[in-house]
Amino acid sequence: MNKKTTLITLMLLLLFVIAPVWLMAQPIEMADTLRSEGKIYVVVAILVVIFAGLIGYLLLLDRKITRIEKKLPSKKD
């Protein structure tokens, strides 16, 4: 392999392999600090608690309705 082909191969390598990788490596802003500090867990915890509260409320409502349904005489009476 002579020097010329090596050079061309290198350039092609640069063009088709390195360049896209380099372009992709350009940082796109994400909330990385928030994550690294572990504060994201606070957000998740709050949301989980709110969600659990809502579901619990829905369950209580569900049970209440069941109780009322039982109070009513069934249709065949």
Partner: protein, 222 residues
């Protein structure tokens, strides 16, 4: 509604909240971290369409063999679908304000969604203006089926024919529905199932309340 379905809905949504915030997402321009809204905003639309579909099926069944229960089912599923649709439109406006620059951007999907909400608002206006119960149920069932048939092209065909700002058409930045990152799929599909189940649960509660109401009225009449 079976208890295990309620448990399933709860677990799926818990998973959605935890995984939705903690798992990796693709790093994309413009949407950045807000891509996570996908797990909460898009399932609202899936839920709305599914609930409206169920409502329409009950309307068809009502026309085949009329009974008060089927009418109540149709109404309450439409009602809950409307709730999810409203939440979807509000969340969509918040997200659009951040990524597109204004809350209402004349996007075909957004307009289609708004119109499908109008259809069901008209459905409730129709119910409000007929006094005879049988007639109210029959007319609204007919309108429900007719409106759903007319809505199909609006939601599923026209948005695909025109360029939309929503991802997946017109080459705009963002993810494509059909090559969603595999990691996102693992959260997105459970999220859709979870929100739909939650909608069905709420609808079932409303149906039971309505049926109790009907029974009490029957008792009073006797």
């Amino acid at each position: 509604m079976k208890t295990w379905l309620k448990v399933l809905a709860t677990l799926l949504l818990l998973y959605t909240i935890v995984a939705g915030f903690l798992f990796d997402v693709p790093r994309l321009n413009i949407v950045n971290e807000t891509i996570r809204a996908l797990y909460f905003h898009v399932p609202m639309w899936f839920g709305m369409v599914v609930l409206f579909l169920v409502s329409t099926v009950y309307s068809i069944q009502y026309l085949r063999s009329p009974s008060i229960e089927k009418d109540v089912y149709a109404v309450e599923f439409a009602n809950t679908g409307l709730l999810l649709g409203l939440l979807g439109i509000v969340t969509g406006m918040i997200w659009a304000n951040y990524t597109w620059g204004s809350p209402w951007h004349g996007d075909p999907k957004q307009n289609g969604a708004a119109i499908s909400l109008l259809v069901y608002l008209a459905y409730f206006v129709l119910r409000g203006s007929v006094e005879n119960e049988d007639q109210r149920a029959r007319l609204s069932a007919v309108y429900n089926i007719f409106a759903f048939a007319a809505m199909i092209p609006l939601i599923f065909v026209i948005p695909r024919m025109t360029s939309s700002m929503h991802p997946g058409s017109g080459g705009n930045p963002g993810f494509n529905m059909y090559d969603l990152d595999s990691k996102m799929r693992m959260v997105f599909y459970p999220a859709v199932a979870g929100w739909i189940l939650l909608g069905v649960w709420i609808a079932s509660l409303r149906i039971r309340v309505r049926l109790i109401d009907e029974k009490i009225q029957n008792l009073e009449n006797e």
